[in-house]
């Protein structure tokens, strides 16, 4: 990781700045112009002061008279240069802000567009936290040097103007300047080189401290139930102390260089006074010149540090830009065809020899089955048998390595973007709600009337609790639906699917957090209303499976058997073992505990 200001980082950093400059030519040009005005006027204000000293102050003291004309000219010069300088400063700051924030916003929009465009398989490979910081902190860091950049350019203008002014005033005094200012610049460079790795490390530790706190507070219940508060505090404290030490290390470098950077220009002014007095006695300069140069040193001392600020931000910028660019350069988008499923009847689904791998590990092997129009098929299999992966293939969230998925006889890869969503609604295992109203979450861009939404809620057994919410359909559910319980969120997600009257409805264990009694009501409702749908349902519960016309039993990524539930129970040992686990257990117990258990449980 680049944290030092090396020449490679400098080159890369300047390239990043070049990108921004090309993208926002006009704003950058105006910002630099404003900053050049500021730079030029800073030098001019020192000159104006020198002029006033020479032409107003000294004559007044020396000859005991005030020249009214010169007095007013001096005043005008001092005030005029200051006003222009102030305008330059204002313009520079505002335009630099516009430049920086526009670029940040641009990166954020581009990165998010990529997130939305890239296939789900890409998302699987990248942790959520990383993607969020790419769009947040990294986009911020990438363009951070844009804030001091115009000022730095202005400072260069300032230095050149000052050099010229000093050379014209007096060569020897200029020489003092040529010694002092490069010294300040070098000192600054050394400062930033020393500081930036330490600052990066402190920044890194700050993120780690925050991560520990996040994780620890998220797991507060576990910490409490196991009484591990001491252990957690120790873990947090270790990192907090590392952060403390890192911050103190930063402080040492700051403490050393800041006073030096302040002292150096002061020494410069003192040198100007010493050398200048000698030059004055030789008649090479007048007092006005001396005051002008000394004042110039005072004025230049601070802005010259802006060069260092840009340098200091460069390493962070290069890293941030690299991360943003990695997202923007990611390839592998899904290609869509032009076809549209014509039918409005229940959909017909065929899965032909489908295989799928995560990296090396193949999780689905030559899966074949079909779902006739209007039928309900249950996908059953133990944890990790590949059901959820299969479901993702059905709605083309991922594409199979081999084989094909056909919707009404058309390969889903040939359908145009958005066409699958028009026909197929998936309710995934992990419910996701947007920070929007209940209505917004159900409609999700669909032009659905209140009646449709309410009907969908009824079907999902969600009309009751939604009716009790403060604002009904207009209640905001909070970030990721945090104001609702797991079961409530699942029912909203279900309503989102059924409101679309999909031709194919796919439920991936979508009612796991709902009470069995409520679940039963939902399933009966779906069956009654589902004449217009084909349904694929992933389930463990018997009640759910019982609704299916056919069962596809998966194990280790293969279709082990398929057929009606009754047949499978008879001929497929694995299936029988899985779905009758509870009943068998009860039966066995009944056999053992005959004296205690009075009733008899008959397995289905």
């Amino acid at each position: 990781m680049a944290s030092k200001v090396t020449s490679a980082v400098m080159r890369q950093g300047l390239r990043v700045l070049g990108v921004a400059i090309r993208a926002e030519k006009v704003v950058f040009a105006l910002a630099v112009l404003a900053s050049a005005v500021y730079g030029g006027m800073t030098v001019a204000s020192a000159w104006a002061l020198g002029w006033a000293t020479q032409n107003v102050v000294l004559p007044a003291f020396g000859e005991g008279r005030a020249v009214a004309g010169a007095l007013w000219t001096g005043t005008f010069l001092i005030f005029g240069t200051a006003l222009l300088k102030a305008l330059g400063v204002a313009g520079r700051r505002i335009l630099a802000g516009i430049l920086q924030y526009r670029m940040q916003a641009r990166s954020r929009r581009d990165v998010t567009k990529q997130y939305l465009r890239l296939p789900l398989s890409w998302h699987h490979r990248h942790p959520t936290g990383q993607l969020l910081s790419n769009a947040g902190a990294d986009a911020e860091a990438a363009w951070a040097p844009l804030a001091p950049l115009p000022m730095a350019v202005g400072v260069i203008v300032m230095l050149v103007t000052a050099a010229v002014a000093m050379v014209f005033t007096d060569l020897v005094l200029a020489l003092v300047g040529f010694l002092i200012f490069p010294a300040i610049a070098v000192l600054n460079l050394v400062y930033q080189r020393k500081l930036s790795p330490l600052a990066t490390r402190a920044q890194q530790l700050r993120a780690e401290v925050s991560e520990i706190a996040h994780e620890s507070f998220d797991g507060a219940l576990v910490v409490k139930t196991l009484g591990r508060e001491d252990l957690e505090t120790e873990r947090f404290q270790r990192r907090a102390h590392e952060l403390r030490d890192a911050n103190i290390a930063v402080g040492r470098v700051r403490g050393l260089f800041d006073p030096m950077l302040e002292a150096l220009p002061t020494i410069g002014v003192l040198a100007v006074l010493a050398v200048g007095s000698a030059r004055l006695s030789g008649g090479s300069i007048d007092s006005g010149d001396l005051v002008e140069v000394a004042y110039l040193f005072t004025l230049l001392a601070f802005p010259i540090r802006a060069l260092g600020w840009v340098l200091a931000e460069l390493p962070r910028s290069v890293v941030g830009w690299g991360r943003v660019q990695a997202v923007l350069d990611a390839t592998g988008s899904m290609e869509y065809g032009q076809a549209a499923p014509a039918s409005s009847a229940p959909a017909r689904l065929e899965v032909r020899d489908v295989s799928y791998s995560y990296g090396e590990a193949e999780v689905l092997h030559e899966v074949t089955f079909d779902v006739p129009a209007g039928r309900t098929v249950a996908l059953v299999g133990p944890t990790g048998s590949g059901k959820s992966t299969l479901v993702q293939l059905l709605v083309r969230l991922v594409d199979p390595g081999r084989g094909q998925v056909l919707l009404d006889g058309v390969d889903v890869r040939e359908l145009a973007h958005g066409r699958i969503a028009e026909s197929v609604a998936l309710v995934p295992q992990q419910t996701f709600l947007f920070d929007d109203t209940v209505r917004g979450n159900i409609a999700l861009g669909l032009d659905a009337g209140d009646e449709d939404v309410r009907a969908a809620l009824r079907l999902a057994q969600a009309d009751g609790f939604v009716g009790r919410l403060a604002d009904g359909l207009d209640t905001r559910v909070g970030e990721r639906g945090t104001s609702l319980s797991g079961g409530q969120r699942q029912r909203i997600a279900l309503a989102r699917a059924v409101v679309r009257r999909p031709r194919l409805l796919i439920l991936d264990d979508a009612t796991s957090s709902v009470d069995p009694q409520v679940e039963a009501k939902i399933l009966y409702g779906l069956r009654d209303a589902a004449e217009a749908s084909t349904v694929v349902v992933v389930a463990y519960r018997m009640a759910t499976i019982a609704l299916a016309d056919e069962v596809v039993y998966l194990d280790h990524g293969r279709v082990v058997d398929r057929g009606p539930h009754d047949e499978l129970i008879r001929r497929c040992a694995g299936y029988r073992n899985l779905v009758t686990a509870y009943e068998r257990e009860e039966a066995e117990r009944a056999a053992i505990d005959v004296p205690a258990g009075e009733e008899e449980e008959v397995s289905a």
Binding site: T53, V56, V57, T75, F79, T81, A82, L83, K85, A90, R93, G97, A105, T112, Y115, L116, L120, P127, T128, R206, S210, A213, E215, D218, L221, V222, T225, G227, E229, A240, R244, N247, I248, V250, G251, L256, D258, P259, T266, I267, L270, S277, A294, L299, F302, G384, Q392, L397, A421, F434, A543, L578, A581, Y582, E583, E585, R589, A596, E599, A604
Partner: protein, 593 residues
């Protein structure tokens, strides 16, 4: 009962906040006087240049021929003073960083610990992110202020003070003039700061909105694709990004206008000095060197006032940060550890009793009413009831995650409130429904139940729970990384790990709150059998979501509407009309329909 709400918005005055904050940070107070004295010395360095200019012009150059010896001498003295003040600056900075960082690290850790000591209810009154802020961003804000803004305030006052004193020595009339120029600005600055503070608040809010919107495009990736709502999401993100950009630009524009005002005021002052100084010079009230020195002294007014809005803003943030941090530390844990005064329970089978226990959430209706029951040691108890019947509340009271509003809960005859936490948590362990895991390996997560456990013990525990097959099916076995919050595992697998973790802790009472609800039936049955074996001789309580758990229990507790409505063995209850018989019927129909 009422849960404590975490404090810290505005009920404390700024001064009281700072006073209390300082009292909590002895590391900061120690040696503060020396640090401040060094700051004063460092500040004096600022007036060296004006003095040198004045001396050079008035003494060195007064006559036609410069007094080179005098000038050289004076300059050398000044240079020495500069070096001295720079050294003072260095020592002051290092001391300041050490003191602030040490004291804030202590405060940070203390706040962190206190968050964990707060009750579950209190913790839940605030979003996780906000709690995290109190030990991260809020502390960072205080530290930034102490190391920059706070120092700037001291330096600014020092600088204005020494400049004014020197000016007064040279000419009281001109001093008055300078102050008259700057006073209106000083009065206006707090107003600008308010404007700026509002603008920054808007930026913070918009940034939060923006990050939330962006996170939807990542966390909701599946749903967005399944429902083809990419464009809708992109529009929401674009709006949020743009709103954030506008807020940032607005804040920057305010800064852009306020910042250079000082330059203009300074120019007015300089022009005034020249105009008035010349007149004073004519009447002999001021020397030319003194007049020129004034021009240099003005520059000392500029930087404090230029940065004043930022400094004031930081000061405000720091006080708000202090308030939030102290707010946490000041919130009393309403479920408090009796600590050393508490009872230490000996190991062995546990009995539990509820005596007329009531509970309601703050401001809510009662969720548990008149619950009286006893659970004998070594018994296996199932708790059943519909959602909202009070099952989970019962579990939370039994594990003392919450205290009852009325009545009491006892363990082995001791009121829970009198039992030392270290003892309580060792003997009673609950496995919540949501199997939260820490980012790390499977082994690390299981070991969390018993930090001293060896890998052998962990493997043994997995074998005893019948989880060896599952473990061997994982790519890395015990070394499998579980990802953040365990998200690389399925919900069912997370529950398996959480159960193993609790089992390793070897409690005398194990309480399962639907702890295997996401596990597949075959595994769940296997697990239930294994648990039956390993919890023999201990007290085991399961909040059940399926029939067989209730059937196998020594006793079933049936909750309905916050009351314990039935209790007894399954075989007795099932024949009697009532809540249990209804529940049983619906289970049967769900399983066999």
């Amino acid at each position: 009962m009422t849960a404590e709400v975490i404090r810290g918005n505005s009920e404390r005055s700024a001064l009281a906040t700072i006073r209390q904050g300082l009292s909590l940070t002895p590391e900061f107070r120690k040696g503060l006087v020396v640090t401040l004295l060094l700051a004063v010395v460092a500040t004096i360095g600022k007036i060296i240049v004006p003095i040198a200019v004045q001396q050079t012009i008035d003494t060195g150059l007064r006559t036609g021929t410069p007094d080179t010896a005098y000038i050289t001498g004076a300059i050398l003295v000044c240079a020495g003073a500069v070096l001295l003040t720079a050294a003072a600056g260095y020592v002051m900075n290092v001391r300041l960083y050490k003191a602030t960082e040490s004291s804030l690290a202590t405060l940070r850790v203390r706040g962190f610990r206190h968050v964990h000591d707060l009750s579950v209810l209190t913790q839940n009154t605030e979003r996780r992110g906000a709690l995290v802020s109190r030990v991260t961003n809020d502390i960072d804000q205080i530290s930034t202020f102490m190391q920059w803004g706070g120092l700037m305030i001291i330096v600014a006052f020092g600088q204005l003070f020494v400049a004014t004193v020197l000016m007064f020595v040279y000419s009281w009339q001109l001093t008055l003039l300078v102050w008259l120029c700057f006073i209106p600005l000083m009065i206006a600055l707090p107003r600008f700061q308010k404007l700026l503070s509002r603008a920054y608040t808007a930026v913070r809010e918009r940034t939060g909105d923006m990050l939330a919107a962006i996170s939807e495009s990542v966390v909701g990736a599946t749903v967005i694709r399944a429902y083809a709502s990419e464009r809708r999401t992109a529009e929401r993100v674009d709006q949020a990004v743009d709103a954030n950009r506008r807020a940032q630009t607005r804040a920057q524009t305010i800064v852009g206008f306020v910042f250079p005002l000082t330059e203009i005021v300074a120019a007015v002052a300089i022009a005034g000095i020249v105009l008035m100084g010349v007149r004073l010079g004519l009447s002999g009230d001021i020397s030319q060197g003194e007049l020129v020195a004034f021009l240099f002294l003005i520059t000392l007014f500029v930087s404090p006032l230029q940065t004043a809005t930022e400094v004031l803003n930081e000061a405000q943030n720091a006080v708000a940060g202090w308030r939030r941090v102290l707010g946490v530390i000041d919130t009393p844990p309403d479920v408090a550890d009796p600590g050393d005064r508490g009872v230490e329970l000996p190991r062995g089978p546990i009995s539990v009793a509820f005596e007329d226990v009531h509970f309601s959430y703050p401001g809510g209706v009662p969720v548990l009413r008149e619950v009286t029951l006893e659970i004998p040691p070594r018994s296996r108890v199932a708790v059943v009831g519909e959602t909202g019947s009070g099952k989970t509340t019962f579990a939370k009271l039994l594990t003392r995650l919450m205290d009852p509003g009325a009545g009491r809960v006892t363990v082995d005859g001791h009121d829970l409130r009198r039992i030392r936490f270290s003892s309580l948590r060792e003997r009673i362990v609950m496995v919540p429904q949501d199997g939260f895991l820490f980012d790390g390996t499977l082994e690390e997560n299981i070991r969390y139940g018993k930090p001293s456990a060896t890998t052998g013990e962990i493997r043994l525990a997995m074998t005893e729970l019948g989880l060896t097959d599952w473990l061997e099916g994982l790519p890395g076995g015990l070394d499998t990384a579980v990802g953040q919050r365990g998200e690389s595992l399925s919900a069912g697998e997370r529950q398996l790990v959480a159960l193993a973790r609790a089992y390793l802790a070897d409690p005398d009472l194990l309480l399962l709150d639907e702890a295997t609800s996401a596990v597949d039936p075959a595994t769940e049955v296997r697990l239930a059998r294994a648990l039956e074996g390993v919890t023999r001789g201990r007290t085991a309580i399961s909040i059940a979501h399926r029939l067989s758990t209730a059937e196998n229990a020594d006793e079933v507790l049936v909750f309905d509407g916050g009351r314990l409505v039935q209790r007894g063995h399954h075989s007795e209850l099932v024949g009697r009309p009532g809540v249990y018989a209804d529940l049983h019927a619906s289970w049967i129909s769900a399983a066999h329909s």
